[in-house]
Chain length 699, copies 2
């Protein structure tokens, strides 16, 4: 069914582009909506508390603050625990695994999408040290997946054209656009989004994708811009200019000296070390939490509420430790800030003074970052303030990730990094002339490089956030150093999580242990093959009793002089063929034409997740079970094969680069069975191989 | 020789990074040097002419102007024609072909590098409508190639560590860093450079490369910045701020209306059309020129000088047609410009007036672009001025590309696009409120999208040039439209040239004609195989009489029951083995240990281009010719194989995605010779396949 008419090709092309652009539109709308909602809920919470503070009713303020936060946190946790457990966490590892070819259950289901959106809004509003950027990536992938399936069949939202998209390749391509759109919407960084998808998320990349993801993110950028312009005129409640993060740093500092460079390198090294430590601790805390979370949904909620209370206590309690700072006289109009967002929070201080710690803690995360990045504000935050904030955020960031709430890592890492950078800048102020806002930016870059180990995409995202290209060389330098340092200790945080969740992820580089093995060594278990014309009963029985998804088809005696490999047949195609009931009494070939008179080519298209035929759905009479079915029309006649003595590492490379699900292993010498075995993704997992050869292979 | 010690791995890693960073350093220095030289030579030429003009000695000025230009052009053409013909043109198609796996002669030779640098400086100074950006890409690749070979062996500049780099993969990776560094140096666009390498130049991409090219371009950015700061203090002759293009547009135009968007779309559509036309005409003119150029070096020089004279006449003559414009009173200090660069050229006009056309023509190309991009200068250029300039530049751009001078296409396309955009902006000024400088930028984007068909990289390069992220959505929109429109007509200009130069380029998508063929169909010619232990004379004779580079090795009767495929052996490895003279009297196996006692593994490493052993270099006695050589130690035991009935399109995909040079075709049925044939790159060329099956396959 490869030969399509011109009209079909045109439909396909139009659909491909329309879907890509539509993904951009939907993701932009969701991103905007979630931003507005967070700003309004969090803003309302802070406003309520601030008003009580102004009346000096501190205890009431604390109760309101902690009550709101806990309620929001509990709601988010309940959603995640009971409705869609897959929505907890960042979602980036799951999307990464999916694009590596792992169809894990319910990762991209409609329920997950819904909980992810609502849960992320609630979680961020609850004041957790989490971001909505990671979840946006997952949301983007979910939206793309649902659109690619033509909505949900359950709700009758199918469209006939969509059938062109029911295959792995097109679906994967479309789902690649999703994360790009998500990052573009979260950071307003369209180029950064494309690079993020390229660098961090996808396992296969074609240059055609660059072009398509780019147009998706262009749509996101344009839609967001239009909506923000609309909101500027005050239609969006408490939603201010600051809603979608875009930090206009614009320090325009064109020169720097050798001392400055040394400081920058120091930030890179320390950022790399602290980033690696962060990864290590997050890994540990996730293991502890997973023990708790396994005990049941109730424990998940309790854990979340506990962390929420700790967070609220920190953010409300710590500012009391610091003394009030008098407002700088030249900023009399702006300090202290009376409204919701701003650099100088009054908190418990008398008029004309501000509380530096409260300006960071008692704010949304976006505003705190903006305060840290702000240029030309040298004396605003003291060493002790920054140190307290950095320690708290670093610890809370580690503790919070892993609770049952959609939680992104970008914001905690940027917050910790920015306060760290500003701290270093304040300490070294005497020997370096760089602005403290720039220090904060470089600190954020070093932490991002140290934890996520992305380079180009983080660099571009930061540039798009700050809108100042003059900083490029410094950011690049910091990122390079931080990543290099951190790579000495452990892997990036997302890779670590992919591994911890046990996804059978195909790495780019084969493990060293594969070098000394050949493909034939890992083939195991009884090989199940079909004859090219097979008894229906045999097929059904086999499908019932094995979980395999691909079966080699062997051409046997009457039609070939010796048994030879005819091809590979997939479980899903077999089921459709059996359902079609094109059987013959004896072993006879059926012409392809006859099959396709009964079944349309699109009946063989890949169904949405969890929607394909199952062997239990077949309802064949005993008489039919005794008939024969010709597998030729549905056999893939040229499967990829490797000779059994090919190096396993080489076979793994081939498997990965072609994005296969099955690979036939053929014998080296003639006169044996024409196929020795089938390799699947699981046969390349290092753990499995070490299990087979525990002694011979050094770890 | 896969098992390396820890020290060797460390040496390899250090070397890999050191080379990548060193490429950045060298390319940045070359880029900076060529910029300074161009600015000084061209500046001196313009200064001389301007001074004569001020004295009203117009005829003398013309003679000086045309004389300088022609001399420079003739020098550049002579260099290209006699010393390194490969240095003519942009070089991007050649680099692209090289990274596709085509080792074309002398593309990356030291001579080519030298001529490219000097020729590009001379060509740009001569006033041709060419850029130095394309050549910088080629220069970057040459530098990377030479460094990767450890300098030139001819001049004794080898280094022992470099031997780790003598293989295709590492060399290709390093050469990928070159073009990225070239773009980064030419445009001061480090992120754009990485994306350019990714999108336009490479055929294979691994995510490790993103990281390495990124660090290369980071070095470029930092070195350039340091050098420019040094030059700001006036150490670089006439070299001004404008040397390395960076157009600070910064219009900060945050809002636009629906009418503006419609105008922008119009620019995109027209840009796409004109871009496609440009490609079509360039293709035609290159065919005409190649007929001329084939006649000999002298014709090349004559052609170049002719075009140079035409260019000089246009740039000097056309400004006379326009009338003088009085300077706007608010710019009395800046108009007319007395010095070299500036918006308002006096030319033949009385004091207090400026000649608009001369401000564009009578300038270096970089300054002309800067004038066109300049914001807030509404009345500066009239419709007729812009129309004249656009037509001339568009025509000259087409005529100039293809003469024997290193010539980049970026600058002509940007010049034509910017004047086109400004023209549209001036015409539609009444209905659109966008700035004319922004119109020029969008016009340039549309032309770049229409000719080169790059998207993300052009977008990022333009952003880095103009340093204003607010323009991103508009640029993206224009690029998308222009590329889509132009793709309806023809291919991108670089792909077109790759095809015209007859490189056997492996496309990503297989041609439709391959769908109906199988791998066995295109295997042709007598298959040359070796026995696993072969007579030396036979090997030498075979190597002498065939041009093949890979030979299947067949295990025969004594060691195997039936002939079976043992592996694949390469010509270069055979030659090294023969040179080593490890022969036996009878058909006996030699142990690998014995071979590697005589020959070090690195003797088999790939030599630099044109430096490998040749079969004529072998000097074997007749007695030795009668002895036997065991090919096992140098045979690749697991070559990639396909079954003869695999679809040719699928085989082509496999060949391309794995980056192979040889692929063995094995028979489907048993009992035949164990290998049917070998597929090489040439067997997948559409032209070759059409030659084999002229009738059966529709074009």
């Amino acid at each position: 069914w490869r030969s399509r008419g011109k009209l079909q090709i045109f439909q396909y092309q139009v659909l491909k582009w329309a879907l890509a652009l539509f993904v951009g539109l939907v993701v932009a709308l969701i991103g905007f909506f979630s931003n507005i909602t967070v700003e309004n809920i969090a803003g309302f919470k802070l406003l309520l508390t601030s008003n009580l503070m102004l009346q000096s009713r501190y205890m009431a303020a604390f109760v309101v603050y902690i009550g709101c936060s806990t309620a929001l946190a509990a709601a988010a946790a309940a959603l995640c625990a009971y409705i869609a457990p897959a929505a907890a966490g960042s979602g980036i590892p799951e999307v990464k695994a999916y694009l590596n070819g792992i169809d894990a259950h319910s990762i991209l289901a409609p329920g997950t999408l819904l909980v992810k959106i609502v849960g992320s809004i609630l979680g961020v509003s609850a004041g957790f040290v989490v971001g909505k950027e990671g979840p946006m990536v997952h949301i983007g992938a979910c939206v793309a997946s649902l659109l690619g399936q033509g909505g949900s069949r359950k709700y009758g939202l199918t469209w006939n054209w969509i059938r062109y998209f029911k295959n792995d390749l097109d679906r994967r391509d479309l789902i690649t656009c999703g994360p790009a759109a998500g990052v573009a919407a979260a950071f307003r960084a369209p180029v950064g989004g494309v690079l993020f998808a390229l660098e961090e998320v996808t396992s296969w990349w074609r240059s055609a994708l660059l072009w398509r993801t780019f147009s998706t993110t262009a749509v996101v950028a344009m839609v967001l811009r239009a909506l923000i312009n609309y909101c500027r005129s005050g239609h969006c409640g408490l939603f201010g200019k600051g809603g979608l993060i875009m930090f206009d740093l614009s320090s325009r500092q064109a020169t720097y000296t050798a001392t400055d460079l040394a400081t920058v390198m120091l930030i890179g090294i320390l950022g790399g070390l602290l980033g690696a430590l962060f990864n290590f601790l997050v890994d540990g805390i996730l293991r502890v939490y997973s023990l708790l979370n396994e005990k049941g949904e109730r424990y998940k909620i309790i854990l979340t509420v506990t962390i929420s209370v700790i967070t609220s206590c920190c953010t409300f309690g710590l500012p009391w430790l610091t003394t009030c700072t008098p407002c700088p006289p030249e900023l009399a109009g702006k300090c202290p800030t009376i409204g919701r967002s701003g650099n100088f929070k009054n908190f418990q201080c008398p008029p004309g003074h501000y509380n530096a710690l409260a300006s960071l803690f008692f704010n949304t995360n976006d505003d705190a970052i903006r305060n840290l990045f702000s240029a030309g504000t040298h004396g605003e935050f003291g060493v002790s303030t920054l140190l307290t904030f950095f320690t708290t955020v670093y610890t809370l960031g580690i503790l919070t990730y892993g609770v049952a709430v959609p939680s992104g890592l970008f914001i905690p890492v940027i917050l910790a990094g920015a306060s760290f950078g500003r701290l270093i800048g304040t300490l070294l102020g005497s020997i370096s002339g760089l602005d403290l806002g720039l220090f904060a930016l470089l600190g954020a870059a070093s932490f991002l490089g140290g934890t996520m180990r992305m380079t180009v995409s983080v660099c571009v995202i930061l540039l798009e956030l700050t809108n100042d290209l003059h900083l490029l060389p410094l950011i690049m330098l910091v990122l390079l150093i931080a990543k290099t340092v951190a790579d000495c200790f452990n892997k990036g945080v997302y890779e670590q999580m992919v591994r911890m969740k046990g996804f059978p992820f195909l790495e780019v580089h084969a493990e060293p242990c594969m070098r000394s093995l050949v493909a034939g060594d890992v083939v195991s278990g009884p090989l199940v093959t079909f004859s090219s014309v097979e008894r229906v009963g045999t097929v059904v029985e086999t499908l019932r009793h094995t979980g395999h998804n691909g079966f080699p088809v062997i051409e046997e005696a009457p039609s070939a002089p010796a048994p030879e490999l005819c091809g590979l047949v997939l479980r899903s195609h077999l089921l459709v063929l059996l359902q079609g009931r094109i059987f013959t009494r004896g072993r006879a070939k059926t012409s392809a034409g006859e099959v396709f008179r009964t079944l349309a080519p699109f009946d063989f298209a890949k169904a949405g997740s969890g929607k394909g035929l199952k062997v239990e759905d077949l309802d064949l009479t005993p008489e039919e079970m005794d008939m024969y079915v010709d597998l030729h029309p549905i056999t893939n006649r040229s499967p990829y094969t490797v000779v059994e003595n090919m190096s396993l590492a080489k076979a793994a490379g081939l498997f990965r680069v072609l994005g296969l699900r099955h690979m036939c292993v053929v014998p080296k010498t003639q006169g044996r069975s024409p196929v020795v075995g089938i390799l699947t993704r699981h046969d390349f997992m290092p753990r499995y191989i070490r299990g087979l050869y525990p002694n011979s292979i050094p770890r």
